[in-house]
Assembly symmetry: C2
Homo-oligomer: 347 residues x 2
Amino acid sequence: MKPSEKALVPFVSVDHMMQLIHRIGVEEMLRGLAEYIEADFRRWDLFDKTPRVASHSDVGVIELMPTSDGELYGFKYVNGHPKNTREGLQTVTAFGLLASVETGYPVLLSEMTMLTAMRTAATSAMVAKHLAPKGADTMAMIGNGAQSEFQSLAMKAICGLKTVRLYDTDPQATRKAARNLAGSGLEVVTCASAEESMEGAQIITTCTADKQYATILTDNMVGAGVHINAIGGDCPGKTELAPAILHRSDIFVEYPPQTRIEGEIQQLEADHPVTELWQVVNGTAPGRTGDRQITLFDSVGFAIEDFSALRYVRDQLPGTEFYHPLDLLADPDDPRDLFGMLQRSAS
Amino acid sequence: MKPSEKALVPFVSVDHMMQLIHRIGVEEMLRGLAEYIEADFRRWDLFDKTPRVASHSDVGVIELMPTSDGELYGFKYVNGHPKNTREGLQTVTAFGLLASVETGYPVLLSEMTMLTAMRTAATSAMVAKHLAPKGADTMAMIGNGAQSEFQSLAMKAICGLKTVRLYDTDPQATRKAARNLAGSGLEVVTCASAEESMEGAQIITTCTADKQYATILTDNMVGAGVHINAIGGDCPGKTELAPAILHRSDIFVEYPPQTRIEGEIQQLEADHPVTELWQVVNGTAPGRTGDRQITLFDSVGFAIEDFSALRYVRDQLPGTEFYHPLDLLADPDDPRDLFGMLQRSAS
């Protein structure tokens, strides 16, 4: 028995997602994602917002991140297990779903490990476009793990980055990132220390993975007139920046109730002033106001960015072969006759 | 490029779920589900419990129901859209997931429209086994929608039900249920009123769908010495029983913080005494204590029941062909080299 059309949900596998990215082009897709994310930041007020629903254990966390704009509902499943790397597993895996608010029926199921890497980088670059010093063309990329190449290419595609200066405590990670970025059009400089990576950089991205209070940047390392894009501090107990840097910076966040728990600002008083990024994007709050200002994006990742990314993917799928229909929903001819549908399936 | 084993998640489609049910047998599977649910009620204290995370709109609700026993994490996506029936769509559709707490990696993705119908009926019957009068063999089944046949068969398989007396305001629904239950071994009696359906019944199941305060049972309809299995009152503003019945009953619930918002007892004071079912199951609270007592299961459905159902399905799959591997997770050879995996997929 064939399931009816209504029962089928388009599913984008990891392989299909990668093919979709190549068809569109990595940089073009990063630009497209940034546009969708920026559009959703502009209408931020419309969204149902709630801190993610987390299930913590000794070794990691599993989270659900739901949101809705009133027409579409979306959520992401994502785990964070820093010790996975040692076992040859991903620290973070994810998948997500879009559904119609009108019917409650899912309209898209998608892998989101690859897509989260793309949307995180697109968000960083969209924010840097608003906050980084004019003409910024050099970035220090501290932490050369899974996110580093995506960050570098998004900054190139969206902010005009020309040079990326790579540093990681593990030189193998730096070599991997440099190899992956060869031929990207970026000038790639591998550095032996965090200090060296920051020479001449107007944008400083930190994306390290240790689940502890770390100090990747100390106060004396950071000069005036830079934009810090702090990605790695993204759960309780995990930070990357010395508190003194936070006190010298103007801090921009996605959703304060979540960032105060998970971001760099968990190190500060609960009433330390921060600016919500959606207000910068829609012009109701100032972004960068001076050449010597330090702007800090305290990034933790928010459900609306995943929602935007799923919307983008859904809009790219028609006419491609990069999905397959999944028999996820029971759809009896008579909705009250679920049992009859089961009975008839026996024959 | 083939995804690696680690990247693949077993997926049970609606069609595979129906084949699995037939392979095991509907009644045998209802018994198996009831055993898994009862086992998890017995170790209720172990579970992470949280009220469901709901996104409400004018026309319905979309919910995520997560829980964990410390080894496995599970969640269900489920919608509730009463108006869907008029549009030829299911009121409720659902799917769910199990994941390893240790790695955060999903281990099962499954349809749960069919499975929720099975687990809801199995839960009702497991509870009736504990609470219904001894020798109860006749049930009034009021509301003959999608859940009615499952309820009837679960009561037969688990409680020894012999006769089901069907009533619905829509005679077509009653005819459908009677037709579906013909040949089940149950004596099926179709009735012209709720009162008639309750003649001789020791178990009264209400499962109607209107999203409003309704009074399916009035006080004078309910005699002493019965067990009421109230399924349909399961969201804010939706109830089925007259408050006077609640005051004459001993009330048993799954998870008080959720039932006080969604169940029949939303009509009562917030401190009205209720008994938690897990305590009846593990012997720390009394169930039925007398022949003339009215016991009431104020059922709303709880995440742990879905968790039990997914556990049951996972344990039945090995050696069957009723699932297929889904390429849901990115699994690069080097976990830090997600971008390299993307690059290599181009060739």
